[in-house]
């Protein structure tokens, strides 16, 4: 009886059994990339952007990491002097609007660093061919004597919010390096998509993985 009621309410029901704080990491093949003679990088046949200057090391996604890919540079000076910028296809939060997404994002951005982030600047920008939002924050840790400055740019890929962000770490009495932020801006301004996203094609593509998925399912049930 209850089953019938459920059936009336829902065509499909997704049930997720979960435990908190113990996410398993799924490994996958590293995405490919190539660099053209003009210094343009084509990443995973999906993204195109100007390559940052020498010294920036490519960070490639190997599993369910927090971002798609990015670049890291170790800066002169004592620990933790380094800069990192990334493109994030699934930034923290769920809202489709920039205002709400910003609030959700900064609840968790750098959360494990225990920094109390202060907003230094916030403005609307043009990014990815449309309207976006830019937020500059800084946080200090007087106990560890460290500080970080970050610029986050939210934009839209079709209907979903994506983000670019750079984080620069310094000892608490250190000086930030503006050239890294200029490199980041050049990366963002040159960034473009070479094909539709998974979500854009969801409504019009036929995929062939289903028979495999279904057989796995039946096998699992039969255990």
């Amino acid at each position: 009886m209850n089953g019938k009621k459920l059936a009336l309410l829902f065509s499909l029901l997704i049930i997720g059994f979960h435990l908190f704080g113990c996410a398993t990491i799924k490994t996958s093949a590293k995405p490919s990339y190539e660099v053209t003679s003009k210094g343009v990088m084509i990443y995973n046949e999906e993204f195109e952007f100007n390559l940052p200057p020498p010294g920036w090391r490519l960070l490639r996604q190997e599993g369910e990491s927090e971002f798609a890919f990015g670049f890291l540079k170790t800066d002169p000076g004592p620990f933790p002097s380094q800069s990192m910028f990334v493109y994030d296809e699934e930034p923290f939060g769920c809202s489709m609007g920039f205002e709400d997404r910003e609030k959700e994002f900064f609840k968790r951005f750098l959360w494990n660093a225990m920094l109390n982030l202060q907003i230094l600047e916030k403005k609307k920008v043009q990014v990815l061919g449309g309207e976006g939002s830019e937020v500059v924050v800084e946080g200090k840790d007087p106990i560890k004597k460290e500080k970080a400055k970050a610029k986050v740019i939210f934009g839209k890929r079709a209907e979903r919010v994506v983000a670019f962000y750079i984080t620069q770490w310094r000892p608490i009495d250190g000086t930030y390096d503006d050239s890294a932020f200029i490199t980041f801006d050049q990366f963002v301004n040159s960034f473009r998509f070479l094909k539709k996203s998974f979500y854009e094609t969801l409504n019009d593509k036929i995929f062939s993985i289903f028979p495999f998925s279904l057989s796995l399912t039946l096998h699992s049930i039969g255990r």
Binding site: G3, L6, A7, L9, F10, S11, L12, L13, I14, I15, G16, F17, H18, L19, F20, C22, A23, T24, I25, K26, E64, E90, F92, G93, C94, M96, E104, K107, R160, F198, Y199, L202, N203, F207, I209, F210, S213, L214, L216, T217, S220, I221, R223
Partner: protein, 103 residues
């Protein structure tokens, strides 16, 4: 779970709903859902009978193992996957079921 929340509007298009099940108590789940701003239901199943029913309860352990299950409108289990949810695979599977006639 945040991934499910992010994809709720897509699940709606396939006439699907999400339900989370955990062995944590109701108060914990309320705070957790509030923190992540989850809007879909979370079930607190302290006695773990759902985990036993869906074979996600390791013997002698106080937590469920991660598993995603898709049940169609007839009550038939159509998809089971252990570990962190593969959100894109879930969407593709829902699309496939939807194309097969709204099972």
């Amino acid at each position: 779970m945040e991934g499910h929340q992010r994809n709720l509007y897509l699940y709606e298009r396939f006439n699907a709903r999400v339900l989370g099940v955990s062995r944590d108590d109701v108060t914990t789940l309320k705070y957790w859902a509030k923190g992540l701003e989850l809007t879909f239901p979370l079930l607190s199943n302290i006695t773990a009978f759902l985990g036993v029913y869906f074979d996600t309860q390791p013997e002698g352990q106080p937590i469920f193992q991660r598993r995603t299950v898709i049940i169609d409108k007839r009550g038939m289990i159509q998809y089971v996957k252990d570990g962190s949810p593969d959100y894109k695979e879930i969407l593709l599977f829902l699309k496939k079921l939807s194309q097969e006639g709204g099972k």
